[in-house]
Symmetry: C2
Subunit: 223 residues, 2 copies
Amino acid sequence: MPKPFKDIDLKKRAEIPQAVITRLPRYYRYLRQLVDKGEYRISSLALSRLMGTTASQIRQDLNYFGGFGQQGYGYNTKNLCECIADILGNNNCYNTVIIGAGNLGKAIATSSSFAHTGMFLKCLFDVKPELVGQKVNGCEIKHLDEMEEFWASNRVDVAILTLPSDAAVKVAHKLAELGIMGIWNFSEAELGLDPEKVAVRDVHLVDSFMTLCFDIKTIENNI
Amino acid sequence: MPKPFKDIDLKKRAEIPQAVITRLPRYYRYLRQLVDKGEYRISSLALSRLMGTTASQIRQDLNYFGGFGQQGYGYNTKNLCECIADILGNNNCYNTVIIGAGNLGKAIATSSSFAHTGMFLKCLFDVKPELVGQKVNGCEIKHLDEMEEFWASNRVDVAILTLPSDAAVKVAHKLAELGIMGIWNFSEAELGLDPEKVAVRDVHLVDSFMTLCFDIKTIENNI
């Protein structure tokens, strides 16, 4: 399987526009669905129609990684799907902990949607005594005070913060000290970590709901 | 309080770039924090530094709504905050139901983060007999079969889909028939509704995690 993206030099990787990076998982989703349906080949035009985008957008995006299509053939869906997973890093295994074992933490811990992302849940942490010792999807909930001890005997790559905002910043800085590589932040706090050392993605669910309200108001105004 | 955005004609509202709309909630968040801290005035430069963006970006974005700053004064944080909420439609009240009362549905139902968005939770629905009749944050979980009956005596504006993907499309089309205005879709299914009739925002948590993996890989490559 050719992996032309191996040719990108490391500097360029950091220069890829955010908009392109955030579109890659969407390509991956559609391609996976095609593979699951047994469709092993698709033209950029057909893919663009399916995704509600343009063929030139797709070609342009994938050209950041060396392109993948073949003139007159289109894309090999399985190959492209695996290449995108490789570009994104989802063929790796990320030892993950969830900090905050409330409903949201449990929702992520029990979701099957992350099976293809490399997320490998090791443990949940919380401060509530009634939660400590419980198991979620086979993983123990430990007390937050046991975090350092856990680190001493486990490699942890990614932490998912599903705890209240006021506690999130302090925990995030502790995680950075412990050498965490990535934080998926569901709290509303800005963590303020060094982006060259710790990758952080914030999920602002409230922002998403607010934009939905905008869309509703726009439709209402047009009716 | 001047509300210059009232002057935008309705056609223009639909023409505002998505990127601008998705940035508005972020402005709102920072401005609310300033108001909460008692800071009633800020220059576009100071705001841009706080937000890690540029002053010209802020001015450009807000100009879609008629601009709000005053030369030599900057922005009145409280006024701008309220104006953005008004533009987004978050000063309205949206009667909301959650369909899927699992961990994610419960997480949203019990979150205090939506207090300022206009979300007013009326009811949760699920198909699991053991959930039906339970209360979450004061709201009853009803059986999905009772949905139409509920609609007959309640106005519902927004539905939050936190149910499995395979059921989501069918439920979404039923909701559209019942006249729903907006759907906040956490399932991985593409709902395929008429965007002129029903506003839909998809939340793809998996996509967000995948981009975090990309960032981690980029940092790893640079070390």
